[in-house]
Subunit: 159 residues, 2 copies
């Protein structure tokens, strides 16, 4: 492997490590555990998982690797705070959505070259990107990885 | 910049983004806020900050960029659970330790080349590294970045 390939594989490896940790936690959640709040008055675990699915689902169009799959989660888990709307999907469907989005993203990431990771994502204009080349697809992927870590850390507090 | 340089700068940019977010949260903490628990029966914010300082401090020797600065935090914030030992440093000293470790790490990271990031860290043997080249310094830095995100997400729940 070239240095470029090793750097990209290491960054994708970081994503896979965090998603793998989340996978094993999420796979075991019961209905009742998903309805627990991470702390008194804070979000339910179910809200955080739905939120991560909906946000990471946006990586498909943002990174130019596909269409969104779970836009139907946005209203309940992104645009409104927890408890505003009824849960739009069952526990089984929520888990399926998590695994579907993240396994498809990982498969797409494993095919991307260094040059592709260094292209701009759709949230930055071509003009801005010319001045700020670090606002690339890799930056967005690493940011989403940390976003998963942040909420996974919170979900692990629920009891 | 070459692709290698852009990939490395993007990864270091991810570290800087998360550490910057933590910096602004930590700078504002009062004594009283640091003593809050992130959830009932869970760690105090102070413990999490001390834990992150002590763990990230180990990056100096692990990445071959210096000696440890705050080994004295290990007993209270790494090897023992919260509440076992008295806090070894004051609030002011804890904040100073956070900024000291993280600003020095960032300065060192900004000087490292792609080839250096792809070297092995000291937690992997030369023999294992020959078989698993993704267990490199970049992988360890990205892992620590996610570790900060995980506990920062928890700290943000304290109220």
């Amino acid at each position: 492997m070239t240095n470029e390939e090793l750097l990209v594989a290491t960054a994708v490896g970081s994503w896979k490590q965090i998603i793998g940790r989340a996978d094993s936690v999420i796979a075991k959640y019961t209905d009742e555990q998903l309805d627990r709040h991470v702390a008194p008055g804070r979000n339910r675990v179910r809200y955080l998982i739905g939120h991560l699915v909906a946000i990471d689902d946006r990586l498909f169009p943002s990174l130019g690797i596909g269409e969104r799959l779970y836009e139907k989660l946005d209203a309940a888990y992104v645009t409104n705070p927890d408890g505003t709307l009824p849960d739009p999907v069952s526990t089984e469907e929520l888990k399926k959505a998590w695994f579907d989005v993240h396994s498809k993203l990982t498969a797409a990431f494993e095919q991307m070259t260094a040059a592709q990771w260094l292209e701009r994502h759709t949230a930055v204009s071509a003009e801005d990107f010319a001045k700020e080349p670090l606002r690339n697809r890799l930056a967005m992927m690493l940011s989403r990885t940390n976003h998963v870590s942040m909420h996974l850390g919170q979900a692990l507090l629920a009891k």
